[in-house]
Symmetry: C2
Subunit: 110 residues, 2 copies
Amino acid sequence: MGASKTEHFSDEQNTIAIIAKALGHPARIAIIEHLLKVNACICGDIVNELPLAQPTVSQHLKELKNAKIIKGTIEGNSICYCIDENTLNQLKSYFENITKQLEIKSTQCC
Amino acid sequence: MGASKTEHFSDEQNTIAIIAKALGHPARIAIIEHLLKVNACICGDIVNELPLAQPTVSQHLKELKNAKIIKGTIEGNSICYCIDENTLNQLKSYFENITKQLEIKSTQCC
DNA sequence: ATTTATTATTGCAATATTACGATATAGTAT
DNA sequence: ATACTATATCGTAATATTGCAATAATAAAT
């Protein structure tokens, strides 16, 4: 096997899992934080910020793009990357909802 | 290779990535939602709720436990699982902070 | 046209993940 | 003691991920 049985789960479950999975690597978290630090939108220089080779960074960027966590637009010679607020807001809302429900119920027994 | 170069990233980046990665599978999202639905703490019956074989579910539960997203205590014959609020709160706070910063800066250019 | 700079793609090796049958373990009930 | 129930572990196959050298693609600069 090795492939996830995505068809058995709801669209929302799959969507959240895809976003979470894309954020499930420290390099990709570092990319997000860097994009945030330099203020939303930058062209180039992501590779130099990470301790990884250029093809590896390119691959991580691709995965963040596939999960719609970042957007990239061609800006002359280089590419302008920025965070897609909608996707991260969706994730934030989802976990806000989860933690809110946990607070209400709070049946701590373990 | 295949192994992540975790040593090059900060503790927080690694921690968030580990939690996100553990949530990066629809079955594990479904487990969280089920634990929430039946109210925090249940003994048994997780296997019957998922369209996966018992060893597979057990493996997913182990990964959620490793990431400290759920806790399990032995309750006689079965095991009592519940969500660890602290960990999900940590993830929630992290993304709340990210999205808050995005809102403040909001340099939408892509 | 050639060089330079930036990013993507290809190909490959190492490792990790997903899934499950078979089996083990541990507690309950008879 | 034996049977039953619930969960974990082992072993293994299929697939995915991570990482990078080599190379390609694209645009800007000379």
